[in-house]
């Protein structure tokens, strides 16, 4: 045994910690740079973009490295989020502790003051917690508020391109929409002044009733369906009950909308195409093909290849454009891909009929609308934008028409039509395609400005926010603690942390689960638990991103050889058996010891020809046939021979099924899990499972064998499968990790019923708080000490006042580094000094204001974005309100500090089991032997 003194002059443990932590610096914040880790021996490389994966790939055999790994694994396995924060703070605070040691602060005092400082911070930031008020009680109503989530990300920074004209136009829009809404709602119109207002706008417009105009008009209206809701919020001061009442109707509308995408629509689209420029045409053409494919043709693979080609092509264009505009490099990747995603999502709306299984297009739209507002049109390739709009035209038109016919309120509809017609007349003087297109462009442009301007209105007139929830727009520091979040979509956006695509999937999964829970219980009352264990991810590498989706039931990949079997099973309820172990002859349950010394002897030669496996296979088949079972789900491996034979006799056998999936099927189908098929009885069989083909997977992506994905589900199964696809296979793991991170964030937010204000607000409050504490102790002297170092009669307690400012300042420096790295990583600032200046400015303001927490709350509500953006007006993109989870975040801080303090207080490293004779004299320097 030997032992090494690790704390002679410089604390090597702390140094190791900071150097490990440095490797994960770029993972902090919403914009993460990926890393390639290359194994020099076998030349394998991994693409990673999370702290956990990074540590998996690092050599952490040193004691400190192992402690770090242990801390991060513990955080990850408990919360699945907060590991980057943990790693960064470990680095920042180990440097801070080292700095304190250099300054001669006694070690015990560093540990004690740092720990108390962090606790004080944790207590302080409670004021930044936002309660979540039963967001899930109104899941359905939020669904109809698809526009609300868009409007909640307001921007004070109006793009300079939009002028007064737009505003006017917008106003009209708003008015007509509100009117439309009022009439649509099927209730007596309560605000006659709206009509008057509308009439005034109409005065100078020629009335034309050509079908084309009408259609266009309708388009304009329904087009802004989302905005309608936004703006009716605006009007809701006078009249709020519409929120609950017309819900059913709006749902009806949205349900009707998808069904109107039909072949006639497609034809129309193709006519429209002849006017487009080549680039747009290409994309639209592709979209048409996609739809065509979805309606049943067999050209999947080819189409997908081309589709991804188009995506790539778009991406290239975007990148070039952006580089010309001088967008910071680090932003390009994320913004571009989001921009492209939103394009693709828009195009995807053509595919709605395929998704009719899911019936949740509404929520998807919520999110796509949102991502549009997140990533303004400046960065959307012009070509695609145009096509989208044109395509929108038809969609929306038909939607509106559908609505008219479906609404069943003929009295109201003509009125609406008339108003609409009047309103648009001044804009559609000529009906040439070109004008139409321009018009449409203007209109869609306005769709965005609607959102912007609605903010504008709300500034002068804010009570629509402040009234119901007591928002702190009053700017008085007295009541700053009334932030709340009662909207699921808003919460999700806040928690997405720069990853809207993953959050969109989480959103869909939550909604699916909620619906299912509602169906099970018959009512939506009570707390809806978001059950993360009943969400299952299915990774399909090689498929385009756009195929990522969420479906009820279980989606898994089976070999193509079962295709005909699946087809046969498709139209009938299937009986199922669940196997909790392997499905092989040799499998025995855990704890069963098979004696090796038993030999079977037999009298006749004939029977010996059948191997025991064949006998077993036959036996299993007999059992399956006897109980009329067509589907077997096994947790472990499945014997290949058995699988083959089963396929021949029309039984689908799927192995490697997760526990939670088996359990979900057990609950929904009434099956009981068995260990041995040969021991099963009638009670173990479940029924009513449906097997359908989901889609085939291109053969070249997974080891050359062609496979297909199937959907298994039963009535009311509490299981949601999230299909994750990525054309880049190396990104698959990252995508899955990111999905789970988003899901866990939402899970903890819903579980705790509270979130933090994110985007640096919490950290800056900590920083301010620590600085003021450090200042206080100088003034106050000894008085606080007894409260600080509890029950310590040591001299350290009395001399703590001397050192406390130093230690607290070092701790605060850790936050400072965190914040400036966050700002640099999000590309808000290009240099550390810029970031530092901005932080300093806020700190000064906060200190001057007297109450840092209310200052931060005020800043936050003013800006509705990352708090440190203030003062930098050339950043145009509006950033939504960011939230963060409470306990995982605080625990990450505590874990980080615990680790640093553990290492700090360690003075000896004892290495066991190494005979000292094995060491050369040089190696053993610095070692003591016992």
């Amino acid at each position: 045994m030997d032992c090494r003194v690790i704390n002679r002059r410089r604390h090597t443990g702390l140094q190791q910690l900071s150097s490990f932590a440095e490797t994960g610096r770029t993972f902090l914040g919403p914009v993460k740079s990926s890393k390639f880790i290359i194994d020099e021996e076998c030349h394998e490389s991994v693409l990673i973009s999370s702290t956990v994966r990074l540590l998996e790939s690092l050599d952490l055999t040193s004691a400190v490295g192992q402690l770090l790994n242990e801390a991060i694994q513990a955080q990850n396995s408990t919360y699945r989020t907060g590991t980057s924060t943990l790693l960064f703070l470990v680095g920042a605070w180990s440097s801070a502790a080292e700095e304190c040691l250099h300054l001669g602060v006694p070690m015990s005092l560093i540990a004690s003051v740092m720990s108390e400082g962090l606790n004080s911070c944790i207590e302080e930031v409670e004021s930044l917690q936002v309660p979540i008020h039963s967001v899930c009680d109104h899941i359905d109503s939020t669904e109809t508020f698809s526009g609300l989530s868009v409007s909640l990300y307001p921007s004070l920074q109006i793009p300079s391109g939009t002028g007064l004209v737009q505003k006017e136009h917008d106003l009209k829009d708003v008015t007509s929409q509100s009117l439309a809404f009022c009439s649509l709602s099927g209730r007596p119109v309560k605000s006659p002044q709206l009509f008057r207002l509308q009439a005034k706008f109409e005065a100078d417009e020629n009335i034309s009733r050509t079908p084309q105009t009408l259609k266009n008009n309708l388009l304009a209206d329904t087009h802004c369906r989302k905005s309608v809701l936004t703006h009716s919020r605006h009007f809701s001061r006078t009249d709020r009950h519409w929120i609950s009442k017309p819900r059913g109707f709006l749902e009806q509308l949205s349900a009707a909308a998808p069904k109107t995408y039909s072949c006639s629509n497609l034809a129309e689209l193709e006519v429209g195409l002849s006017h487009g420029d080549p680039s747009s045409m290409r994309l639209v053409d592709e979209a048409v093909r996609l739809q065509h494919q979805n309606s049943g043709t067999k050209q999947h693979i080819q189409n997908w290849n081309q589709y991804s080609f188009v995506s790539r092509w778009c991406m290239e264009q975007c990148c070039q454009e952006c580089l010309h505009l001088g967008v910071p490099m680090s932003l390009i990747a994320s913004v571009m891909s989001e921009g492209l995603n939103s394009c693709i999502e828009e195009v995807e709306s053509l595919q709605v009929p395929i998704h009719s299984v899911c019936d949740h297009i509404d929520s998807t739209e919520t999110f796509s609308g949102l991502s549009v507002s997140l990533y303004p049109s400046l960065q959307i390739p012009s070509g695609t934008g145009l096509v989208q709009k044109e395509h929108d035209l038809k969609d929306v038109t038909s939607q509106s028409l559908a609505f008219c016919s479906l609404s069943g309120r003929p009295v109201k509809s003509p009125q609406l039509f008339r108003l609409q017609a009047k309103f648009e007349a001044d804009e559609n003087i000529s009906r040439t395609p070109q004008t139409l297109k321009n018009n449409l462009l203007a209109d869609t442009h306005c769709r965005k400005s609607v959102l912007t301007h609605s903010r504008h209105f709300s500034r002068t007139d804010r009570h629509w926010i402040s009234k119901p929830r007591g928002f702190l727009e009053q700017l008085s520091a007295a009541a700053p603690k009334t932030y709340s979040c009662s909207n699921l979509a808003e919460l999700e956006v806040g928690l997405s942390h720069g990853d809207p695509s993953s959050m969109r999937l989480v959103d869909e999964a939550v909604r699916l689960q909620h619906q299912n829970a509602g169906r099970q219980r018959g009512s939506h009352t009570g707390l809806f638990p978001f059950d993360i264990s009943r969400i299952f991810t299915c990774c399909l590498p090689g498929l385009p991103d756009t195929l990522s989706c969420v479906c009820p039931g279980y989606i898994t990949v089976v070999s193509m050889s079962t295709a005909t079997l699946v087809k046969e099973l498709q139209n009938q309820p299937v009986r199922v058996v669940l196997v909790e172990g392997d499905l092989t002859e040799n499998y025995r349950h855990l704890g069963f010891n098979k004696p090796a010394n038993i030999k079977t002897v037999s009298e006749s030669v004939k029977v010996q020809q059948d191997s025991s496996e064949e006998l077993w296979t036959d036996h299993v088949l007999q059992v399956l046939i006897k109980f009329n079972v067509n589907l077997v789900l096994a947790r472990g491996n499945v014997s290949e021979r058995l699988a083959e034979k089963c396929t021949d006799s029309k039984q689908l056998v799927i192995g490697s099924v997760q526990d939670s999936v088996l359990q979900a099927f057990a609950e929904a189908s009434g099956a009981v899990q068995v260990a041995y098929l040969t021991h099963m009885n009638e009670n173990c069989v479940g029924s009513g499972v449906s097997v359908t083909t989901w889609r085939s997977i291109p053969s070249d992506t997974i080891d050359g064998i062609s496979r297909m994905a199937v959907v298994l589900k039963t009535e009311g199964i509490n299981l949601v499968t999230v299909v994750l696809t990525s054309p880049v296979i190396a990104q698959m793991q990252t995508k899955e990790d990111r999905f789970w991170t988003c899901a866990s964030r939402l899970y903890y937010a819903l579980k705790e019923q509270k979130v933090f204000l994110g985007g640096g607000a919490v950290e800056i409050l900590c920083l301010t708080h620590l600085q003021s504490l450090a200042g206080q102790s100088v003034n106050k002297g000894n008085q606080d000490c007894s409260g600080w170092l509890h029950n310590t009669s040591s001299w350290l307690a009395s001399s703590a006042a001397l050192y406390r400012p130093t230690v607290l300042k070092c701790l605060a420096d850790g936050w400072h580094r965190y914040l400036s790295t966050l700002l640099r990583n999000t590309a808000v600032y290009s240099s550390d000094s810029e970031a530092a200046t901005s932080i300093q400015c806020h700190l000064q303001n906060a200190a001057d204001s007297g109450s840092p927490s209310s200052y931060i709350l005020n800043e936050y509500s003013k800006l509705n974005s990352v708090i440190l953006n203030l003062g930098i007006s050339d950043k145009l993109e509006p950033i939504p309100r960011v939230y963060d989870v409470v306990t995982p975040k605080i625990e990450a801080w505590r874990r980080a500090l615990d680790l640093v303090l553990l290492v700090l207080q360690t003075d000896n490293e004892i290495i066991t089991g190494l005979a000292h004779t094995q060491k050369s004299s040089q190696e053993s320097e610095g070692f003591l032997f016992l």
Binding site: L67, A111, D659, T887, Q905
Partner: protein
């Protein structure tokens, strides 16, 4: 063909203590244990240097368990300390440091071992008889009508282990839990012989410390999968329990050596399973509600039991068997044959609880002296340390019930004892000199060595370069900042002594701990008011410390008495 080799002769080394290596090793060990001592002690990382798990600790139990020493003197020392820790849990570092100090101090004197041993023994008996006497001023009788002293004891133990990484709030929480867990193990109607129950520590790593809890009864961890298969528990006043310690997995019992020939068509497995089903049928006909098995239950048997509304929980593990058989009143069933009805027991209630990410099957017995302490901490290292500390605290409480006293902690007992011994040997040396037949000088030298060993033990509490003072009234321990100008009149004195009993408001005079000064009689007889006034004292377990003192002195004598080491090199 086997080859026989002649045995190597044993190596005999005389005077094992005089060598350079022995001194260096002893100094290294002393440095190791000394730096761990007290609430500000430094931590040690133990690992194998090849990526094995890392233990961060400052406790003797964990430290010495992972410290394979090679030198025979160190082996004696560590074995003695580990033995002490095994019996008393607390006071391991105290013992080790005192022993090292004694060996080192006495060695320097160069006196004959017999004299040293004799006098050390005498000084030890002086200490123990004083500590056990009514007039002892560093001992407080425990008032069981209030929790104050017991909580202080637990809190002192918790705060002396910094690797637990607890903040003040968490220390309060955990010490309350420990006390509650301890109180739950005391039977309600105590007769003459109290048999204490048991607190089972249930691990829940990765959660917040503040989520720790104490529950009466036994928690059996079950996996999520297993849990889903447990039936909804029906309401009942009492549940009939069968507890198996034999495996019900249906495998064949030991087939012995050689090959077993089985003729075609005969399945031993099926035969074993049939036997299990017969057992199951008997359990069902005996109206058993709950079957618990230490090992594995065959899934088919489980299914059979479930269809007959019997709850089956398997893989309980050997550590829970004894408490289970105690609380349920069963005798573990060890055969698959017929079960005698007398071996069934019962529990009052069953429920399923979820803590953190783990599911537990919660058994609430009729008369409970067994409770479960669900212990959480953020990481594995800190959890392991916290678990050991909690066990120590629980053990200390049990020892305190047996011997209802606590000693003042924070170094005050040591400095007080030193003052007492110095005074005693200076003023009444006659009896010693007559009994032990030694010279006055020898007595003075040995007393000084003994006292300075105790003093530097108290001084080991300081790790950040502070100074230690002692007052001339009570002989307590006071800690001050280093490099203060004068040793007589400090303007800004420490507010309280090490144990927290006395405050500097009194007119006291101080001197440096290891400075030469006149022996004084420390005030004996602790006043009741003094103990009542201070709300948070630093306290030590009486029994453990007393034993530690004895073990240290006796081990030091043993080591000093070693004249030759015979090592078998084969």
């Amino acid at each position: 063909m086997s080859r026989l080799e002649a045995k190597k002769p044993s190596i005999c080394r005389s005077d094992p203590l005089t060598g350079e290596r022995a001194r260096a090793s002893l100094a290294a060990l002393k440095g190791l244990v000394t730096s761990c001592y007290g609430p500000a002690g430094r931590l040690k990382q133990l690992h194998n240097g090849r990526g094995g798990s890392v233990v961060t600790t400052s406790q003797s139990a964990a430290l010495l368990a992972g410290l394979p020493v090679s030198h025979p003197v160190l082996k004696v020392l560590t074995a003695a300390v580990r033995n002490h820790v095994a019996c008393f849990s607390d006071g391991g570092l105290f013992t080790a440091i005192l022993c090292c100090n004694l060996v080192e101090n006495v060695q320097r004197l160069g006196l004959a071992p017999t004299t040293v041993i004799k006098l050390n023994k005498h000084l030890l008996s002086l200490c123990t008889s004083y500590l056990k006497s009514e007039g002892c001023a560093c001992r407080i009788p425990v008032d069981f009508s209030s929790t104050q002293i017991l909580l202080s004891l637990v809190r002192s133990i918790l705060t002396s282990k910094p690797a637990c990484m607890l903040i003040a709030k968490e220390v309060d929480h955990i010490s309350t839990l420990i006390l509650r867990a301890f109180l739950l193990t005391i039977p309600e109607n105590a007769q003459e012989h109290i048999i204490l129950g048991k607190s089972i520590i249930v691990p829940l790593k990765g959660q917040r410390v503040i989520d720790s809890a104490v529950l009466p009864g036994i928690l059996i961890e079950v996996s999520g999968v297993q849990l889903m298969k447990i039936l909804p528990i029906k309401k009942s006043d009492s549940f009939k329990v069968a507890l198996f310690c034999v495996s019900l997995s249906g495998d064949l019992s030991d087939t012995g050596e050689g090959t077993l020939l089985v003729s075609y068509g005969v399945s031993l497995e099926n035969a074993a399973l049939d036997q299990l089903f017969n057992l199951g049928k008997q359990l069902v006909s005996d109206h058993v509600d709950l079957v618990l098995c230490q090992k594995v239950i065959h899934p088919s048997l489980k299914q059979f039991l479930r269809t007959h509304h019997v709850i089956a929980v398997d893989r309980i593990g050997v550590s829970l068997m004894e408490p289970l058989s105690k609380v349920t009143g069963t005798w573990p069933i060890g055969s698959l044959g017929s079960i005698s009805p007398s071996s069934y027991g019962s529990v009052k209630d069953l429920c399923i609880a979820k803590f953190g990410c783990k599911h537990f099957f919660h058994l609430i017995p009729n008369k409970t002296t067994i409770c479960s302490l669900l212990l959480c901490n953020r990481n594995d290292t800190a959890w392991d340390e916290l678990k050991l500390t909690c066990q120590t605290a629980l053990h200390a409480l049990q020892l305190t019930i047996k011997d209802p006293y606590v000693l003042l902690g924070g170094g005050c007992t040591e400095t007080h004892l030193v003052a007492y011994i110095r005074h005693k040997t200076r003023n009444e040396p006659e009896s010693v000199l007559r009994d032990e037949r030694c010279s006055q000088t020898e007595l003075q030298l040995i007393t000084e060595a003994f006292c300075s060993a105790l003093e530097s033990l108290a001084g080991s509490l300081e790790h950040d370069g502070g100074e230690i003072l002692t007052d001339s009234k009570y002989g307590h321990f006071w800690s001050v900042q280093a490099n203060l100008p004068s040793a007589v009149n400090w303007p800004d004195l420490p507010s309280r002594c090490g144990c927290g009993l006395y405050s500097s408001q009194e007119e006291l005079s101080w001197s440096f701990l290891r400075s030469a000064r006149h022996p004084f009689p420390p005030q004996t007889c602790l006043s009741r008011e003094a103990t009542g006034s201070a709300d948070t004292l630093t306290l030590d377990c009486f029994t453990a410390k007393l034993s530690g003192l004895q073990v240290a002195v006796e081990t030091a004598s043993l080591i000093l008495d070693l004249s030759c080491v015979i090592e078998d090199t084969n």
